[in-house]
């Protein structure tokens, strides 16, 4: 498995990286953790002239807190996110989802930003990012930055709001301190991409659900947010019966794929079952 020849650049600042992108344009590919890009290059499904490695840019690494937000550098590895107490405390849903990604080796290489920009709808980061109302900070060619809400970030299969010459630099997540969370991932073997995944986080109040956020993995060409379910859950007790009724609409507007792991109708059935389970688990039921 040998990729076609390419030039390799390793800028040490976001400014340099953006400048390199501007210079090479379409001919360049950005390398984050490389867990998707390298197989693509090695199987010669893509042959960029230049690979720009973001691995040596300190400002893209790490988790910090900014008031009522967590700020995660785009090049923070899954393993580093998992090790962050701040994430566990304030965005438990993200921890729970990332804990299911592939295997330990991949979690030590793969990055949260790389996964978000790659935007594979079967990836496990998009749904929790959507459910938690994440904001994505994007650096542009002219040194400017802009912030895009997660709901506007995912545009289509492998397509995001990150435009030509731009880089995702930060993921800002509103703190969901005290919210219960669960990521229900359905796979045949543990290291597999999600067949369907459901990310649910719930704030309980006096034995019933006060607020709920639900994101879906691999139920369409992008991660999806199940707003009708979120609304239906408000005020409901965390019982099997009540949640079963509230999640009935979860497949509205979904358009899941059909492949060797299951056809679209089966995935819709799974989404219904898994959403109920995810919500009940998030609510501690």
């Amino acid at each position: 498995m040998i990729p076609a020849q390419f030039d390799y650049l390793a800028p040490t600042s976001v400014a340099d990286a953006v400048a390199a992108l501007a210079e090479h344009g379409d001919d360049a590919k950005v390398l984050a953790g490389g867990q998707s890009l390298l197989p693509i290059l090695r199987m010669r499904l893509n042959a960029p002239g230049v690979v720009i490695d973001l691995g040596r840019i300190p400002e893209l690494q790490g988790v910090s807190e900014d008031g009522d937000h967590l700020v995660i550098g785009a090049m923070t590895t899954y393993a580093a996110v998992l090790a962050s107490e701040a994430v566990t405390t304030h965005a438990a849903l993200l921890s729970k989802a990332i804990a299911t990604v592939a295997d330990p080796q991949i979690r030590h290489r793969g990055t949260i930003g790389g996964a978000l920009v790659h935007a594979d709808p079967a990836g496990d980061v998009g749904a929790p990012a959507l459910a938690l109302g994440a904001e994505l900070v994007i650096a542009g060619a002219d040194g400017s930055t802009r912030t895009v809400a997660a709901e506007d970030f995912f545009e289509d299969l492998f397509a995001t709001a990150v435009g030509e010459g731009e880089l995702l630099t930060q993921i800002r997540i509103p703190k969901h301190t005290g919210w219960g969370a669960h990521y229900e991932k359905f796979v045949r073997v543990s290291h597999q991409w999600s067949i369907v995944g459901v990310a649910a986080t719930v704030r309980s109040e006096g034995g019933s659900i006060a607020e709920a956020r639900v994101g879906l993995t691999n139920m369409g060409s992008t991660p999806l947010r199940a707003r009708s379910v979120e609304e239906a859950l408000v005020g409901q007790p965390a019982t099997d019966e009540a949640v079963r009724a509230a999640v009935a609409s979860v497949t509205d507007g979904t358009n899941p794929p059909s492949d060797l792991n299951g056809d679209a109708d089966y995935r819709k059935h799974l989404a219904t079952v898994l959403t109920r389970r995810a919500v009940l688990a998030a609510a501690g039921a």
Partner: protein, 828 residues
């Protein structure tokens, strides 16, 4: 268990029976060893293959000019360029005299019959340059219609090889009435149809891909007097023979080396187009060359395994006593008859009757060609297919009779006091004790408690149902008595060879004709020889896998190495002792008849005089003081041809939890009690059992090669070909009973394939058992959650849940009704 010998009280504890860690593992696990791809020769060139993207096409033109001009490229060869010297990939087992076998050229000249077939070879200074240039070879194909489905192939409407005029390769039959080993199957079926029970089912053995860890790699150095080929193969000796038979190179001019080889599972029991193409290019250029495949190439070009439809008719009396079994197999050989290829399903012929006493039996096989990757041996080779079929059927019969599936087995199995027993298929089993293995397994499993829990879950309508699956398997291994292979039209014998060299300084070299690729032979053979010759384990070196070092051998496959290969070692050791006794007697000034050999020392009866084996070896080496006329050597060779196969057996019990809401199956408990006779190294056996179990479980749950309707392998990488990892399996409970084989002096039976043969039906039986109350009696493998869930939905939708006709009959004149297809969902 050990081989018992009288030993002095102060003798070291026997090596046989010790759980030694493997002496070869440090270098194998760290990779700091002689993998073929680690070999670098001066001036060596690197190859890349150009492969057909089409399943079936003729080649109208190949333009190599741009590739030849690419950086670092030394040469580009097409099949036309190599056709005089490239040889042909032959089959060693034409199952009938009438078998049709299309020529399998290493590099196709005018016709490609599966996607992935080689059409050109690039040689360049580096592997990267070779790969770059391979992209520049321009091949014009005229696409032909491809036949991709076994049942479509049987219709002969689209031909995989138009020149053959048919897709049928060969047919083969074993009939108990015809050969006099049992009654008439049609009579048994007719009787059962009248007043007994007839179970008619069709099962599918999906196509599997042997996922050995080390991709295949070949280095050829043509610059010496012998052409030397290093290859990641299970069969260096067979490979040398096939090269000599087809390329024009004399056998004496070929040296084949299997250096350290990282797994095979049958997948490297092959002589490959890649090996032959590499040899041809090396000879053309008179330079050393290396080819190492990518995993993507392994998936499309390395041979696949299994791929059968099994139509089965089981006749029984009302009480569940089986009166006959009729097997009608369709086997997909893929595009070519591979080395063993068509013979793999034949190996199942003696195993469908398994451990049971059936009155009549008939096995009918038709092999077909399709435009898919060729198919050959994969761990178990013929016996897993047979075991799956009969163990699934015995569960179906139990359901029909309404008794516990263990009871139905007990009613039909050979009892321990009936050995040796000649089966309805004509095979004589020497030893076994099915009652003992089953009793032990039941106890370890907590059978009755789990049955009680199953009942409780059923009654409470638990969304998670529990099922118990049983597999009381046997298999035939230790390939093989040469006379039987001859009778089956196989192209070689089944003997094995060994030599022992007693070195002057007291260490011992053991040369074995088998070719380990991960099994641990170095360790086990050292244990055996240490005990036999009374030398320290550390002083034994086991050499293998090089036709210059181990000139004779039949290599490693079919769980043969210990039961055939190690027996040859034992016999060579016996000869060493006999020769050394003469020297010892001479040096001790005693009669040979008075010499006793024990724990490494030759003593004189009734005295305390003695001389050690190393002392005898040194004295022989110096030759200063030997008996008159004695050849100064105590080295010895032995070749062993077994009289029979060995017949391991065991009882495997599996509990599966099935989530009826999603169809997901989770293993709850797995117990196996295997009887493999005496055990040399319990740790190695444990590893073989665990690995085998996981591979068999993987067929039941996870693995399956799938093609699209263009003939492209959809499961072309490990993203889609879902291999399990340790994270997907549970801790198995393993144990043994001990019925020694009577066909070798160590009393051992093969264990390499046992777990893989036994586990698949245990898992599927458990899943079907969990959901049988929903009206389900079969689920296609792999039992994906979707298939399980859909089977439950389909079962539930039928009125009178659980009361459906459990035995739909095959309609007259309709050969294959594919009852499993409805549960298959959207997958082709």
């Amino acid at each position: 268990m050990t081989i018992t010998e009288d030993r002095p009280a102060d003798a070291p504890t026997p090596e046989i029976g010790k759980s030694r860690t493997r002496k070869e593992d440090q270098r194998l696990i760290t990779g700091r060893t002689r993998w073929t791809d680690n070999i670098q020769l001066p001036g060596m060139l690197h190859l890349a293959m150009v492969r057909s993207p089409f399943a079936h096409a003729t080649i109208s033109a190949i333009d190599t000019s741009e590739a030849k001009g690419s950086s670092g490229v030394v040469a580009v060869f097409t099949g036309e360029d190599l056709k005089d010297i490239q040889g042909v990939n032959i089959t060693a087992w034409p199952v009938s005299a009438e078998q049709k076998s299309p020529d399998h050229l290493p590099v196709a000249v005018s016709h490609v019959a599966h996607a992935g077939e080689i059409v050109a070879v690039v040689a360049a200074r580096t592997a990267a340059e070779a790969r770059d240039a391979a992209e520049l070879v321009d091949v014009d194909y005229d696409e032909l219609p491809a036949v991709l489905d076994l049942k479509e192939a049987a219709k002969d409407e689209v031909l995989a090889h138009p020149s053959l005029g048919t897709n049928t390769s060969a047919t083969w039959q074993l009939d108990s009435a015809g050969q006099g080993s049992g009654g008439d199957i049609e009579e048994a079926i007719a009787t059962a149809r009248e007043g007994g029970i007839l179970i008619e089912r069709e099962y599918r053995q999906q196509r599997l891909i042997p996922a050995f860890m080390e991709p295949r790699s070949t280095v050829v150095d043509p610059t010496g007097e012998q052409v030397t080929m290093w290859s990641s193969t299970q069969v260096p000796h067979v490979l040398r023979f096939c090269i000599a038979a087809t390329t024009g190179l004399p056998e004496s001019k070929i040296r084949v080396i299997a250096p350290d080889v990282g797994g095979g599972f049958g997948g490297k029991l092959q002589t490959t187009p890649e090996e032959f193409a590499t040899l041809a290019v090396a000879r053309k250029l008179s330079k050393a060359v290396k080819y190492t495949e990518t995993r993507s190439e392994t998936m499309v070009s390395g041979h696949h395994g299994r791929d059968q439809w099994q139509k089965l008719t089981l006749a029984a009396e009302k009480d569940g006593r089986v009166t006959g079994l009729k097997v009608e197999l369709m086997a997909d050989l893929g595009a070519y008859a591979a080395l063993v290829g068509g013979g793999v399903p034949v190996l199942g012929a003696w195993m469908f009757n398994s451990i049971y006493k059936f009155a009549s039996y008939q096995f009918n096989l038709t092999n077909y060609y399709t435009n898919k990757t060729w198919v050959d041996a994969y761990r178990g080779a013929g016996r897993p297919e047979a075991t799956y079929a009969i163990e699934r059927l015995m569960d179906e019969l139990a359901a029909e009779v309404g008794v516990d599936p263990l009871e139905i087995r007990e009613k039909n199995w050979i009892t321990h006091d009936e050995f040796p027993f000649t089966t309805v298929a004509g095979m004589t089993y020497d030893s076994g004790n099915y009652e003992a293995a089953t009793a032990k397994a039941k106890e370890l499993f907590g059978y009755d408690e789990l049955r009680a829990e199953q009942k409780q879950r059923r009654e409470s309508n638990d969304p998670v149902q529990l099922g118990i699956g049983i597999s009381t398997f046997t298999e035939m291994c230790g390939l093989a008595p040469s006379r039987i292979l001859g009778a089956l039209n196989y192209g070689a014998g089944g003997w094995e060879s060994a030599s022992i060299r007693m070195l002057a300084t007291g260490t011992v070299e053991v040369i074995t004709g088998v070719s380990p690729h991960g099994q641990g032979h170095e360790t086990a053979w050292s244990q055996i020889v240490a005990d036999k010759l009374g030398v320290p384990f550390e002083n034994v070196e086991v050499l293998h896998g090089d036709t210059q070092i181990a000139p004779k051998g039949m290599d490693t496959y079919g769980s043969r190495s210990l039961v055939v290969g190690a027996e040859a070692v034992v016999r060579a050791a016996d000869k060493v002792i006999e020769k050394a006794k003469v020297v010892a007697a001479h040096l001790l000034e005693a009669s040979v008849d008075d010499i006793e050999f024990s724990a490494g020392t030759f003593g004189v009866k009734g005295t305390d005089k003695g001389i050690s084996m190393p002392e005898v070896a040194l004295a022989t080496w110096t030759g200063h003081n030997l008996p008159d006329g004695m050849e100064p050597s105590i080295d010895a060779d032995a070749t062993f041809d077994p009289d029979n196969f060995s017949f391991p057996h065991g009882t495997h019990l599996c509990a599966m939890e099935v989530d009826t809401e999603t169809g997901a199956s989770t293993m709850r408990k797995y117990v196996c009690v295997d009887d493999i006779g005496n055990i040399i190294n319990p740790l190695i056996v444990e590893g073989q059992v665990h690995g085998g179990l996981v591979q068999g479980i993987a067929q039941a749950l996870w693995e399956g090669a799938e093609y699209d309707d263009q003939g492209t392998l959809v499961t072309g990488s490990f993203v889609d070909y879902t291999l399990p990892t340790s994270a997907d399996t549970i801790s198995f409970i393993t144990d043994h009973t001990y019925s020694p084989s009577t066909y070798n002096s160590l009393g051992t039976k093969g264990v390499g394939e046992a777990g893989c043969i036994a586990s698949t039906p245990a898992v599927v039986n458990a899943i079907v058992d969990a959901v049988r109350s929903f009206g389900v009696n079969d689920i296609l493998m792999p039992c994906t959650p979707e298939r399980v869930w859909k089977a439950i939905q389909k079962g539930r939708s039928v009125p009178g849940e659980g009361e459906r006709d459990a035995q739909p009959h095959f309609d007259e004149g309709v050969p294959n009704q594919d009852p499993g297809a409805a549960a298959e969902g959207s997958q082709a």
